[in-house]
């Protein structure tokens, strides 16, 4: 059934994925350390954007507070590591349930009491803010003075404890991004995925078609929270320091959603492409301004905002859908 339905568009997109993956695997040999760090940041946003897309792009529930899941993932894993020496992979056994529980609470409050649309989005922001203020005063995790992971010179890369050089972190986040893509690909084509799309398109019509909307919206929030929480674990071990102001801040949530918004909400390639476009744009502006010797404060932010404006106005569906049509892979990355 699957094989029979593979048309030329599927083969083309299969080729596209294989080519990108080969380039991604070879990247550490092709680029310098600085560019490798940029690639790590791009993949981090691609991963987190993909996770956010499950809830908002597939199920249509706008979250503007995804920093809460990043922050919880980061803090739980970092605290378990610094206090008990627990490896981050083991910590996921705590991280994922904590993030899912947080998602379940937000979802239950919203969906049980009919909080929808922008009000739902505000509720998600509120939870991220609760977490920010709460962690800012929680002495167990050093409150506002921040939680630090020990940084030592390592003789070799320790994948189990996530201690090592950028190349190791690059491959970890690359693997995570590929897995998240595969997960979203499978979800999008599953029974649950179809029900999510139905809810996104018209919730009342979905209910009339027998979709248990409460349950499937809960699944969407919890799945998205679970996937996002690993982004937090990665963040903690890559940056080695955590401040509530930073990890739970609203700007962190906005950063996560910009990728899929620019790339194409609800598409599979959108979050990845969007992360490349955004981070690439920021880096290009840095380089461009430096080359022209411009050192005006705020010039970069202004230009960055202007470029985003152009993208949003010119490509309201995001960058991916028109690009997909151009490449002849329509319908596959959707």
């Amino acid at each position: 059934m699957m094989l029979r339905s593979l048309g030329p568009a599927s083969w083309r997109s299969g080729g596209l994925i294989a080519g990108l993956l080969a380039a991604a695997l070879a990247a550490p040999w092709l680029v310098n350390d600085y560019l490798l760090t940029v690639l790590i940041i791009i993949l981090y946003f691609a991963y987190a954007g993909q996770a956010w897309n499950i809830m908002t792009g597939f199920a249509g529930q706008l979250s503007l507070g995804h920093a809460v899941y990043v922050g919880l993932g980061a803090y739980v894993a970092a605290a378990l590591f610094t206090r008990f020496g627990i490896a981050p992979w083991i910590a996921l056994l705590a991280v994922i349930p904590v993030a899912m529980a947080c998602g379940a609470i937000i979802g239950f409050l919203a969906f049980r009491f009919g909080v929808t649309g922008v009000y739902f989005a505000i509720l998600t922001i509120a939870f991220a803010e609760f977490a920010r203020v709460g962690f800012d005063h929680w002495d167990l995790v050093n409150a506002s003075s921040g939680l630090f992971l020990p940084v030592k010179q390592y003789a070799h890369n320790d994948l189990w404890l996530l201690r090592g050089d950028p190349t190791m972190f690059y491959y970890v986040i690359l693997a995570a991004t590929v897995l998240a893509f595969a997960l979203c690909f499978a979800l999008r084509r599953s029974r649950v995925g179809y029900f999510w799309l139905a809810i996104r398109e018209d919730e009342q019509a979905a209910r009339a078609a027998g979709v248990a909307t409460f349950r499937y919206k809960m699944y969407a929030v919890m799945a998205s929270a679970a996937v996002t929480s690993f982004a937090g674990v990665f963040y903690a071990f890559f940056y080695n320091n955590l401040f509530p102001e930073q990890v739970f801040g609203i700007s962190r949530s906005i950063e996560i959603i910009l990728g899929p918004v620019i790339g194409g909400i609800g598409t599979l390639f959108g979050p990845i492409l969007g992360a490349f476009v955004l981070t690439g744009l920021a880096e290009a502006l840095n380089a461009g301004l430096a080359a022209f010797g411009l050192d005006l404060p705020g010039a970069k932010q202004l230009l960055y905002g202007f470029c985003l404006l152009i993208v949003v106005v010119a490509l309201p569906e995001g960058v991916w859908p028109p690009l997909a049509r151009r490449l002849g892979v329509t319908g596959v990355g959707k």
């Binding site: 799309l197 139905a198 398109e201 019509a205 209910r207 009339a208 078609a209 027998g210 979709v211 248990a212």
Partner: protein, 241 residues
């Protein structure tokens, strides 16, 4: 034979307005039953209560021997009542086939099997050639048939059709009438329809209920109904002989 659906003194008020006032009727299994009445008579409100979109203020609704008047819409659908909307509501960005597949997934876990079921229904409703188009690009008659296909995909025992003929040309109406008759005859599907197009009501329904200002003013076979003075007065127009 016991009724598949029965309403007993069902009422609904919106603020001061009584939209549906103590309406009772029973739909036997396997028939096509029409509800007619002028605009604002309470027909769609009645449908919304049966389908679980809103609970009645008073009275009870029984389906297949069980009370359903406090169940949410999705549960009512799982029990075997599917509906269309008067103002069509397909999933606009999804393809025609995906729209129907979602309905077929209600009682199927396998997406491939649901897709096959969806394709069979699309053939039946003359939509197969449009299956890859986004639903938002369809014409109104096509979207109306798409709603029927999506509702049928949930494998209902009772199909609620809210003015599916409105806006259709006579030939399209005849086609829809033929499809519904075939479904009713071949699979014993019970149909409850709200309809303004009398041509369709006369062709399809074996029983008709007339609503006016929220109350049931007459019920009977279509030929009796069109001769009923109260119906002529309230619905068909006072100038009729």
């Amino acid at each position: 034979m016991t009724a598949l659906l029965s309403l007993s003194a069902v009422s609904k008020r919106f603020r001061g307005l009584v939209a549906v006032d103590r309406v009772s009727f029973a739909v036997p299994r396997g028939i096509i039953f029409a509800v007619i009445g002028p605009n604002g008579a309470g027909k769609t409100t009645l449908f919304n209560m049966i389908a679980g979109a809103m609970p009645p203020d008073d009275g009870s609704i029984t389906f297949d021997g069980e009370a359903i008047d406090r169940l949410p819409a999705d549960e009512v659908c799982r029990r075997g009542i599917a509906r269309t909307f008067q103002i069509v509501r397909p999933f606009p960005a999804l393809s025609v086939e995906d729209n129907v597949t979602i309905g077929a997934l209600l009682h199927r876990r396998d997406v491939g099997a649901a897709r096959q079921r969806a394709q069979a229904l699309l053939r039946r409703l003359d939509l197969f050639d449009l299956r890859e188009r986004p639903a938002s690009t369809l014409t109104l008659p096509d979207r109306k048939r798409l709603e029927v296909a999506r509702a049928l995909a949930t494998e209902p025992q009772l199909l609620l059709l809210d003015e599916v003929m409105a806006g259709l040309r006579p030939t399209e109406t005849d086609r829809m009438v033929a499809i519904l008759q075939a479904l009713n005859l071949q699979s014993g599907l019970t149909v409850l329809l709200i309809e303004h197009v009398m041509r369709a009501v006369m062709a399809l329904a074996s029983r008709v209920l007339v609503l006016d200002h929220g109350t049931a003013v007459a019920e009977g076979a279509p030929q009796e109904i069109v001769r009923n003075p109260a119906v002529v007065q309230s619905y068909l127009g006072a100038e009729a002989p």
